[in-house]
Subunit: 423 residues, 2 copies
């Protein structure tokens, strides 16, 4: 007997809807994931992804490392591992964090299944329904599902070229306190922000930590892009500026410096916080992939990861330049955009009368895609903004993609002006 | 400046405690995970784990498969993948499920990060705080963290040699309804139950599905061990008996048939349920490891997984026999235990006056470990029971382990009798 679920009708869908938990009914998808299927169509030039370019990972390196895993560690690499991750890898992560000006000890590190799990565990561990999470506006679209599923009330703090405008943070905290709302987390991406492309200044970092200390609020510092740096030197991390007082949870990943398909990231936090997150991880997936952890460990023992990242950065810098040049040529004078010195993204803002969600529909007809800005806000802002990625495509393709987007912008502008709109 | 979190004191720990979300404060660890560190001590004979024996995975097979991944799919294997998993692997899973008498279509399958994520997503998607989950008593200790973090009220239904005593299910549902409590899920492991070691009879399966249909309650069928079968033929799955009416979520994994270190499992469910779980997975980890999915796919294309599993089963059968023989010889006549026809575990129950948590402390002094039965209940039952695993150790070591446990039982009994207790 073959039973397919062909009998499941719209009525059935309602049946489930009524049975889902409140947190499930409230969850909002990340726009990026919805766009992923689209981005996979080979005819689409997708600036929508946040993918590193895995063509840059050498096949011979993969072979050497995997041979070492097989020869020396196969049985344990295929077995369950500890929830907190392999100790040797956690020791290596301490060293990697030092290059980000974040000083941690091995007992402050837990391996996660990508940086995403670090974000999810942070929200899950701290936020009760209706409590407030402060986030930059725009914020990482991938943080939207954790925020919404744990029913956080997200309050955005605006950004400029120096990152979150921390001057607006304290008045917001005071207003929220006066309204009787409890702020549980401040979620921030200080380096090469996704999607905004900007970096928080040192002064603002110090100010942010001072505010967190005085108001006694946990900070989640999400730092997946710190090493994807085209010039300049790293600023001290918020984790460092906290001076061991335990108010910062640091989240990072091997996704951008090695490979996202391994799904290995980490969290650094005070041990009591880590113990709580360990329980959360036991619930979610028991442990992260042991084979992948071992692969990274054997890689780090044989190769200089900073040299690999330097090579990535050279390639990405050229691509960023190509994207910025194309924007100058193809986007209208009324548009403005960020000029990232690292990371993977440019954030552009078009005139108010252009809705980038509508623009995307037209763009897809021209086989080009980006992330509409509304995906990076929980309060309806961002409707005229867009995120563009430059890490995965060669300069000529990026240029062609921007040319196509420029075309649909021009058409939309003409249409608006034809309807009597004022430019 | 080095800042270690050395300043974090007990007072700080209380500070966090006060800040954690309710779900975080309510989560209970899985006893198995706590025991894992212990089990790793090389001098301990651990019957506590639930580990398959990865020595049985051939290194040359690993090499052949990984070479194929590198030669043909390296770039995509290292990249992010779709949240629902690689389509080709989902197609393979449809075939694997057919061997478990579970008929699904590819649109009913989502890849998860181990079976654990399937359990977690099920509870997260359906259960609001205070709602009831029905589970066997004992139930899988690894399900305790999802149950507690999502604040489910767990009601156990007792078991016998034919699995959950389904006759007691309907009166329990009626009682709960009369008390105004909402039952959201029935969680069950019909095949080679962990920890009970028994299999649900066909009659009870049919009865359970009939009850689920009449009471309109979702069933989570957790089936990680169905293929670890020493004799007999598979019974129809609950997923099959549901006849496509969409009341069953089927959870399984490659952990026992291939390797747990890959962290690849799956869920089969009606598409509206799967869409909801997909959102949950976006929040938790974006996608499961792409490299590991590709590894499994290339393995399945080159080797007969059923032949590999047949070899595992031969080895595990011998070990089960050794454990059962040792129990006959070393355990007191007042003890009784299950005789599993598959899976990884034997469940033993000792006289009432023996608390297996206390017994474990003494056993560890003798360098032997097991899981105390209380870990498999949320209501204080199971205090005189214990779970023993036989899949990871050779017969001689299993025999020695049971001999040591038998010794501490005998000592405890003597102590009890010396105190005037009645045997």
């Amino acid at each position: 007997m073959r039973n397919t679920h062909s009998q499941v009708t719209h009525e059935d869908a309602r049946r489930y809807e009524e049975r889902f938990a409140v947190r499930a009914r409230k969850i909002k998808a990340s726009a990026m994931r919805d766009l992923m299927a689209l981005a996979e169509r080979p005819d689409v030039i997708s600036l929508a992804g946040g993918f590193p370019d895995m063509e840059l990972f050498p096949a011979d390196v993969f072979q050497t490392v995997m041979d070492a895993v097989r020869a020396e560690h196969l049985t344990t690499a295929l077995q369950y591992g500890p929830t907190e991750g392999l100790r040797e890898l956690r020791e290596r992560i301490v060293q990697i964090m030092a290059h980000e000006r974040a000083t941690a000890t091995v007992d402050q590190i837990m391996i996660t299944s990508g940086g995403q799990q670090g974000i999810n565990l942070s929200v899950r561990s701290f936020v009760d329904p209706g409590e407030v999470v402060i986030a930059e506006g725009p914020t990482y679209p991938g943080a939207v599902p954790p925020f919404t599923t744990y029913e956080a009330d997200v309050v955005h703090i605006p950004m400029d070229d120096d990152g979150m405008i921390v001057d607006e943070l304290e008045p917001a905290l005071e207003r929220l306190r006066d309204e009787g709302r409890r702020v549980k987390l401040i979620y921030t991406i200080p380096n090469f922000h996704n999607p905004a492309g900007v970096t928080m200044s040192l002064e603002r970092r110090e100010r942010l930590i001072d505010i967190a200390h005085r108001h006694e609020i946990m900070v989640v510092e999400d730092n997946p892009y710190g090493q994807i740096r085209f010039d300049g030197e790293p600023l001290p991390s918020l984790y460092e500026l906290d001076e061991g007082r335990g108010w910062v949870v640091y989240v990072s990943t091997f996704s951008k410096i090695l490979a996202p398909g391994l799904r290995v990231g980490w969290v650094a936090a005070a041990p009591p916080v880590l113990r709580q997150m360990n329980l959360g991880k036991q619930s979610e997936d028991l442990c992260s992939g042991t084979l992948n952890q071992r692969f990274i460990l054997e890689y780090l023992e044989r190769y200089d990861w900073r040299q690999h990242v330097a090579r990535l950065n050279e390639v990405y810098r050229t691509r960023r330049d190509a994207l910025l040049t194309a924007l100058e040529e193809e986007f209208p004078a009324s548009a403005h955009w960020t000029r990232p010195r690292g990371g993977l993204f440019v954030w552009a803002t078009l005139p108010d009368y252009i809705d980038t969600q509508d623009l995307l529909a037209r763009a897809i007809d021209r086989n080009v895609a980006f992330v509409p800005g509304g995906a990076a806000f929980l309060d309806g802002q961002g409707k005229s903004s867009m995120r563009m990625n430059y890490s995965q495509l060669p300069p000529t393709v990026l240029t062609e993609g921007v040319r196509r987007i420029g075309e649909v912008i021009a058409e939309t502008t003409e249409l608006f002006e034809g309807l009597g709109g004022v430019r």
